[in-house]
Symmetry: D3
Subunit: 189 residues, 6 copies
């Protein structure tokens, strides 16, 4: 209802969203974020890095309903299947060649290989992924219509939660035996 409400991340009161920094202390720097300009470290099993420009890192976004991420993918790297519980996502490739795909609730898999400057959209809450199918590093910019879209990463959610989801749930879910579940869990330990 105000023009802006720069988040006071250190406020003693916890809200859904954040209280505002006093207007008198707001400067141009509050609307600026430099966290997407650096190359991410993709030296991990997924060949993946993400820098998040959401309200937690960029307090000026508070109450404004938008955020952006930078995703770096090594060749063969993957931003593994996940969903955003509170946002639609649009994706633009800045560098490289990337397969992006999502599955609808009617179980249809929609996908496309994108090159530089091409755009794709992932409807709110659906499971999707990005996979570098090129021979060099890829960079994507993603935009969300939420200041904090959240990410439900399927593999981590099911196999690495704290505390763990009991094996009997997972064996029934995937119709496999305990060995398979334990094996996957061990990778995410």
């Amino acid at each position: 209802m105000k023009d802006f409400c720069v988040a006071d991340l250190n406020a003693t009161v916890s809200l859904n969203g954040f209280p505002c920094k006093p207007v008198a202390e707001v400067t141009s720097d509050d609307f600026f974020f430099d966290g997407l300009s650096k190359e991410g470290n993709t030296d991990n099993p997924f060949g993946f890095a993400v820098a998040q420009g959401n309200v937690l890192s960029f307090p000026g976004l508070n109450t404004l309903g938008i955020s952006m991420n930078r995703v770096d993918l090594a060749p063969g790297g993957i931003n593994a299947p996940h969903s955003h519980p509170r946002a639609t996502e649009s994706i633009v490739v800045i560098k490289g060649k990337v397969l992006v795909g999502f599955v609808s609730t009617s179980n249809v898999y929609f996908y496309k290989v994108l090159t530089v400057g091409q755009m794709f959209v992932i409807p709110r809450g659906l499971i999707h992924f990005q996979y570098n199918v090129g021979h060099s590093k890829a960079i994507l910019l993603t935009a969300f219509n939420s200041q904090l879209p959240g990410a439900v990463i399927v593999s981590r959610t099911l196999f690495a939660s704290n505390p763990p989801i009991p094996n009997q749930i997972l064996t029934k879910t995937f119709r496999v035996d305990d060995d398979v579940i334990n094996s996957i869990k061990s990778k995410f330990a």
Copy 2:
């Protein structure tokens, strides 16, 4: 903006939501739904059945922002991990003893065993499940703050979409080899 807009499911125009049945044709029956009163058939590998009282089955819900489901679970039956992209869910156990759980985006697993009359809430878009831990059949009523919450069922989404998600995506996601992926896919074929 009107009191109601009973869905005309056969309209030639397709909207996000549905056009309205002419007001002059609306009767009390349009606000009534009898699809939750019958026992579901749980004779399947998951010991699970769901009856959905959403806008597709109950057109009177159109534009009203609410819907309800009935879930039947055989002993040991599971409503496998899934998320609703467009709704928070509240659950009340009508019969039996049921473990319900969800995982937050911070990867914390919250869960509870519910008995008759007890209530649990699943925040919008998070992966959750219901598992009958009692010795007899269980029945749950679930309510959603959407007329069509949608369901992203994790196993079906990843292993049984049409067309299929390529194996290389799934092996990287779960850090397993093709055999495991093929084995799971075969169960959902």
Copy 3:
């Protein structure tokens, strides 16, 4: 914007909604509510009891946009005409036989006698009631797309407010004389 914001009902700051309990103190019990499992006391002139699972009794619902009530009705008992200023309501009968009805702003009365498992929907803000037309006790579960739907009970609002609405307003409203108004007011004193 966060996954959840369990209400801190004792916060010194008053909001529309509630501040959040610190995330580190949130446990599974915060998403659980046991207030709907007990039979209500219907030993009153209306043969009516309600247990409310809204944010005031179930703080985990804060910011999630959903709540549920249990209504107990003795034979002949009534949940008297009322409206919810902030929610659509869906109703499922758990036990008994209940007449439910609402009136639209076009002054049409829609109604239905429901038996176990049957569902009815009351559009946002319209006056409605539930009346036990069976020979035994009735139980209903109602769901709302608001964490605090509110209830405007017509009789109480007009005849038992604090301070009272002046008689001249009420005699003009119902086109009756002071005696009728005083008589009704005396019942709600």
Copy 4:
């Protein structure tokens, strides 16, 4: 999502809201309404008249989320207790002296006598009324944050619906006998 969507009130498709008139046919007159400038006829038992500037009379309001009414009250005239299911209302007195009041869901009656130029606000969905306490005609302008706020007029809803609400509901509601109910119903027949 567009600047405007002037309602096509004669469209064959019925929506919640209205389809848009083709942009090429939109003129300045579509954003203009002259229905509030004339004195209303208050020659009726309530000494009351209302002119409604909502989407049904002023199609340019479609999708814009606002509307305004003019209320005329003869001396002693009343805009009887009612609620708007889809809007907050603000009131400004243009002429005369008017008692305005509403009752909260906590059953508190808030009220004020307003003279020319004074403003009062009625929160969404609460029962309220306006009563001319001056010696001459009164005029009010009311604004709503909905293009079609709707009005649930308590007396008409309960005593003059079509079909009628059964007497047994109403005798239990107001704790009076059939004679009182029949007497009131006869006034609204």
Copy 5:
């Protein structure tokens, strides 16, 4: 989510919107505002005065999504081109004869001369103005579907901001030289 949340304008916590005054301290006066009843002082270069009934002056509007202004215009006076970033506006002329106009994003200018009791609507976010074309003082009531619509006054925004927008931006914008920009800036100093 509550009936109301009267703004506590002096709270130590700053929100987008305001914390609520304790309910126990809320009185009828909190829903009342007398700031629109007095004539505005139009003795200035624009022949213009505005009295704002928004949440900052009328704390009872907090969370209710509505506000109203009174505009006074001397003969030839203007409420200069501006937009409201957070609201649609509806206008009713209380006295006089006023030209109102707005320009759509398709660059079409819609306008009308209004006399007493006539209404016009300005869609959200579009630039508009009001100009007294009569021979006597004019008064308008304007309503907004926001408790704090904000106003972006074009001339003040571009030529009198603090710090100033550099001349090179403005000369390029209007395709004029520095002298014109400096001349306009001097008028708004």
Copy 6:
């Protein structure tokens, strides 16, 4: 309420938003847009080009609440002061060095010079601009939390509308004489 509703831009029914393409005809290409990959032609007085990825060019965005633009600026080029009536904007520089600024409704000018990968946010409805302060071409990606944010370009709105805004409005607005207004109007003819 559905996963998606790909716009049928040729539908005979006009809505605020668009009807949906039949689901059976939706393919992966509906979620893909290639209009941002090509260099824009900045050979014009503003040294400016914009490619818009909104619902009109990318029908898959319909109902999803997001869109993205590409802005090309020649050295010294400007995206002249404008506002988006329906969206917050976030900006990332892809190439070059760009001054971005906006003015709040409190008349404070916030600004920053951005280089590659840096991000800035413009709150909903405020007037802002982008100006290439580097020696080579600049490219920006902008994201909006609306499928059709609209653009109110100040100079075009005031000096080049159809029909034109009368000079007397503009001379009073900027406190200049007719010659200045006519001179500016001639540049935008």
